[in-house]
Subunit: 376 residues, 2 copies
């Protein structure tokens, strides 16, 4: 369908309205619950999963972290609780009557400032408003992107054989993530739901921790030679980055691998992509990619390739030990790798491969590992 | 000229070769100097401006920070000095025979790892190789981008009425920074020299500190209404970000303003754009934009608009006091503003304008300030 046709524009607008309408119903539904409770002579309250660590469980079925059955009650029985419900209603009202109605958005920081004018519902720190948005996600089952609430900074990029369509406020944009962009790559927007995948020739997704390695793979033409979609993680990945990896993996069936430094903090980056983060367990099934595989840097690579290393710090050792008792690292593979790393007492960065020449990582290391993993 | 024509491609390749050839001559020239010194029976040495704070001067003529006349000598008379000259030659050789010859690039981090194989010329920490690259910039008068050396992360973006052509390793890309990109904006590449400006309708450049405010201006259509090119600074701006602001200002004659939070650290962001940074004084004339004006948040705005504030910390107060004796803030305007801020003891973020509604900053604040500055 011609993207400039009235028919196409109407279709896009309809789909957007549908999402906004769904979110609006969820939020108004919450307000109605309070009304009904008043009507029935009850003190207004809402039940939600307890967000304590005790209530987190690793789901064998979906292979991600989810909340368990313990519930906590937010109720207007106390002044503090009443304030909190007032804030919940105020934020819902703002999202419905400003964001959804007028197709606007705000950052989490702006939302905190916006509450200045809300009298008793005013937030006293951004941590409070951030937390309330998370509560609203859990209560409604919507993601904060559906409320049109964005983070302060994002900025991860992507590069590879993928043609996508992004619906922007200025109209739809068809962008090929190799042919239509500069060397910086395609900037992933905060709301990945606005992207439609039109066509791809990809056989794999490689999520890369550092900007230096991401640039190396692009310069060496790894995306072209192996039809790889390269995603820059920028350290601990943003929600939008994790979401687009999941969408590429589940909707298009493209296998995903994660390429990080060889240290315990980087293994956590991998696990947050594969299994979800404890902090956002309510979104695991939306953002995690359980099929994602860890490609390296493995502790065994440090030994095999004699990479330039740094000594493990006390914190590194403690983090590795804690991973040994973490269900996400309970496999034979991880136990072996982590024990090996504790034994050699070293860590290595992914850019350490440069010590073997600029092409070693793309000509030798990655092809070998992709064969090990059965991807090529 | 058709960008797919052989003639155009040849022209681009020629221009690139010309830059690379110039850089190569500079680096080989340095090596020749050492040969000539050997020939003349001298111990090899090189003279360069001293990089101590004492040798920094504010140039009234170019209105930026530059090095003064004090010189320091790098000489092979000591073992340490000989090592340093060996490293200088090794890096020059690598840049010429790998980067320039094969059209490759490396990150600063990779360069450090690459030296693993250089025996006595090996670097023992990245700080050493970073510093040597800066020395080479000063000695040759080239920028590190000409050596094809890139930073680890960059990632600033730009949005506005500008059609540009970026020469990438995959060919040239014509990109309109409103019509051809997603909501994330155009990703500024590490080497801004690869960009040619083809057409623009811009009447101003607005450099914005935070991602939240940058997104706000895009969402509110400020770029369209005022024909503004919005540049996201991401805090203290990268070299590429400062360079593109300078190029837009000097080559296209577009006035530039800087929009930051209202605190002493943000005033330093402004001054690094306008006057250059002490750390990179040898590049001021290449990266600074002396015409750039500070639009806000001004301490007087905090009073006038009754913005939500935080109390100044001890560090804030010390930084403000130090700015009072800084030649870059020696004007009547800055003295008044800084003294006012010390008096009220408060600071405000740019997103605090959200407390007055989502449109206040674009409908009221910025238009008023742009009138004050004579830009609209």
């Amino acid at each position: 369908m011609d993207r400039n046709s009235e028919e196409y524009k109407k279709k896009v607008a309809d789909k957007k309205l549908e999402n906004d309408e769904w979110t609006k119903r969820k939020l108004l539904g919450l307000a109605e619950t309070f009304y009904d409770q008043f009507d029935a002579g009850q003190v207004p309250h809402v039940l939600m999963p307890s967000r304590t660590k005790k209530n987190l469980a690793y789901s064998d079925e979906s292979e991600v972290w989810v909340y368990g059955d313990i519930e906590s009650e937010r109720t207007a029985k106390t002044v503090k609780g009443a304030h909190q419900l007032l804030r919940t209603v105020s934020v819902s009202d703002f999202v419905v009557s400003e964001h959804l109605k007028n197709n606007r958005s705000s950052t989490l920081r702006e939302l905190y400032y916006i509450s200045e004018g809300w009298g008793a519902a005013k937030f006293h720190a951004q941590a409070e408003s951030d937390r309330l948005i998370e509560d609203l996600e859990i209560i409604t089952g919507a993601q904060r992107e559906f409320f049109h609430v964005r983070p302060e900074e994002d900025g991860a990029t992507m590069y590879g054989p993928l043609l996508l369509r992004e619906e922007t406020k200025r109209g739809s944009r068809d962008i090929h993530c190799q042919k239509d962009i500069g060397e910086g790559g395609y900037q992933i927007p905060f709301n990945v739901e606005n992207i439609e995948f039109l066509h791809h020739d990809a056989t794999m997704i490689i999520a890369v921790e550092t900007g230096g390695m991401y640039a190396r793979l692009i310069e060496n033409g790894f995306d072209e030679k192996y039809n790889a979609i390269l995603v820059h993680l920028k350290g601990q990945p943003a929600r939008s980055t994790r979401r687009i990896i999941r969408r590429l993996n589940t909707e298009l069936g493209i296998p995903a691998v994660v390429f990080t430094d060889g240290d315990p903090w980087s293994y956590r980056i991998y696990s947050s992509i594969a299994y979800g983060a404890i902090k956002s367990a309510h979104l695991s099934e939306y953002m995690a990619t359980p099929e994602a595989k860890f490609i390296g840097v493995q502790p065994s690579d440090i030994v095999e390739y004699e990479l330039a290393t740094d000594k493990l710090s006390e914190q590194d050792i403690a983090a590795l030990r804690s991973e040994l008792s973490d269900p996400r690292f309970a496999s034979k593979y991880w136990k072996e790798q982590i024990n090996l790393q504790l034994e050699i007492g070293k860590k290595a960065e992914q850019q350490a491969f440069a010590g073997k020449g600029l092409d070693f990582v793309t000509d030798t290391y990655l092809p070998n590992r992709l064969k090990d993993l059965g991807i090529i």
